[in-house]
Symmetry: C2
């Protein structure tokens, strides 16, 4: 299978190690193993390091199910992170020749992967600046292209943090239902207390998520898929060929984390809110930048109003100041930087000022 | 992508939980987390649960490389278990229309997965009873079918435990080299001190392995791929779409394990040797069964000389006695049971006698 390079991930691979001020990570501040183990002391001790339960530790499954309205165990399967969960969904459902709808700027997995599977991708542009989803254009495509099999959304979207409001989502679901289309939402940035998952709203709604972002536990590589039992069964067949199980180590620690989910979510939300306030104040005084930031969003797409290539800017910024961004070019749009809001910073205000000075004086420093 | 059910894994999923005497697991006896952590106390404490190094903890990579002659870091990438490593190799190299050679009885992933990718699979039968690889037939196919792109072997094979002797492997490599064919060996049952990996013997040799079997650490889901830098790079591109990283939790514990590899390997080898001796003595007195067992093999294919369906036998045996086997039917061959030799048993001799009585009196108990 021929796959395009995954631009954002390659950028992270190539440059993340040099970051002094990581302003681009979309994860909540990571816990250490000790911090996690202190939540449930001794929970790991007697765990046998065999394959464990193939379908996942029942205690973990039950905690994940409690995040949803429909708690039927047949509607859930586990994966090693949300990225893998996404791959499993796409690879199980999609066939060469299928048409799909995805959005840009967006997470490349949702269009490059279907392309690699031989699908025809209709890539729709989010509304500039507000980054709202183009509902009318989506509905029009659904009506006019009977080959459409799936709609793929980061929901909220990476890198914009935007999502469809309830009434819009409801209209989209009606159209999908009328045409038997799968609505696949990566909900890794979706706060469980912020509304209902697409998997609870629509019988052909597929939701994926993980502990990586809102819980600050990317290192567990713990993700899941929530969908109708028929799809979950089909994915489980495929899972036998790829992972066997997520394993008792990850399962046990993920269970421990979800026993304390309120605490962990509150911890990351507090950081996000603090960072967002600082960024918003900074934006008010700096017309060189603009950005629409959703409430409690871990990610936003920061625009700079100067004609510099985003990759050039991100590279030299990192080299000269240690400030790390993924450039908009990795998401198919220039003059932007992906801004992450979940990481703790010693002095975010000062770093943002340094960024501003750097961009303003760009020509001088080259 | 349409995939056949993975028979052996589904059997394990469906029945393993009921096992009292697991005679079929091919893993070395699993360590507990405590046993592993006691090897390197405190190693986990300060580990931050972020994505960690995308290409894997350099300390772990260095320990894995030390198992091979060629220790170029560009010849290695990490995966979440050997099964996933295998999938990554096949999915990266193979294209629809390619021809491949695989073997039966063998691990279904090596023929059903290429089939799902649209390849034509030449499935060759291992020599009955000795289960040696059919070298002449393989060479003949290589000479007559120019479309052959890859040879896939469990090496040693699951479920037979057999492998090519040095001189045979050398002849096979010469033929592969002459035709530019990839030689892909799953070496998860290959003792590192028993010879050279195919990745060290042949520039288009691809080896996969993990800590699941010989180290008794399946629960870490820690595997790897060893191949030429070009293939590793291509796999790493794909890896960005599927796992991002194996994560610092697994990486750190896998590193701890490999720091003590001699001890861990000796531990499993001792169990295997003890079990093998008991089985061999038992076989001598029981003509109802026969089995060729390789030295220090974690797996063998036990034949019973009675006309009973292997799935029926395995199911009722489990129900009536708690003795658990995967039936030969899961590997495409009747009248066999897969025998695992790495697990500790309280009284293997008594369990084998119970097995014998059960099979002898099969008709009465139905």
């Amino acid at each position: 299978m021929k796959l395009d390079d995954f631009l954002v991930e390659q950028w992270m691979n190539d440059y993340e190690g040099m970051a002094v001020h990581d302003l681009t990570s979309t994860c909540g501040q990571a816990l250490t193993c000790r911090e996690l183990l202190d939540l449930e002391p001794g929970i790991l001790e007697d765990v046998e390091l065999n394959y464990g339960s193939i379908t996942g530790d029942p205690r973990l499954r039950s905690e994940i199910l409690s995040l949803y309205q429909n708690q039927d165990p047949h509607t859930l399967t586990l994966a090693q992170g949300c990225l893998q969960a996404n791959e499993m969904v796409m690879e199980t459902v999609l066939e060469p020749g299928d048409e799909v709808i995805a959005y840009t700027p967006g997470y490349q997995q949702f269009y490059s992967y279907p392309e690699a599977l031989g699908c025809q991708v209709h890539l729709l542009r989010l509304e500039p600046d507000s980054w709202s989803f183009p509902l009318d254009r989506t509905l029009e495509l659904i009506e006019t292209r009977p080959g459409i099999r799936m709609i793929l959304m980061g929901h909220p979207s990476n890198p914009t943090g935007t999502f469809m409001k309830e009434e819009e989502l409801s209209r989209l679901i009606s159209a999908c239902r009328a045409h038997g289309i799968w609505l696949f939402c990566d909900e890794v940035y979706f706060w469980p207390d912020s509304g209902l998952s697409v998997a609870d709203l629509y019988e052909k709604g597929v939701a994926t998520s993980s502990l990586s972002k809102l819980y600050g536990l990317a290192g567990l590589r713990s993700g899941w898929i929530k969908a109708c039992p028929e799809l979950i069964h089909a994915i489980d067949v495929r899972r036998d060929y790829t992972i066997i199980s997520t394993g008792p180590l990850t399962d046990t620690l993920s269970y421990a984390a979800l026993l304390h989910k309120e605490e962990l979510l509150a911890r990351v939300r507090k950081t996000v809110q603090k960072n967002t306030e600082i960024v918003k104040n900074w934006l008010q005084d700096n017309p060189l930048f603009s950005c629409s930031i959703e409430q409690d969003s871990l990610v936003a797409f920061l625009r700079y109003h100067k004609d510099i290539s985003s990759a050039d800017l991100a590279r030299s910024l990192l080299r000269d100041t240690g400030i790390f961004f993924v450039p908009g070019s990795c998401f198919g749009l220039e003059h932007h930087l992906r801004l992450g809001l979940g990481t703790c910073h010693e002095d975010l205000k000062a770093v943002l000022e340094q960024l501003q000075t750097y961009v303003q004086t760009w020509e001088q420093v080259q």
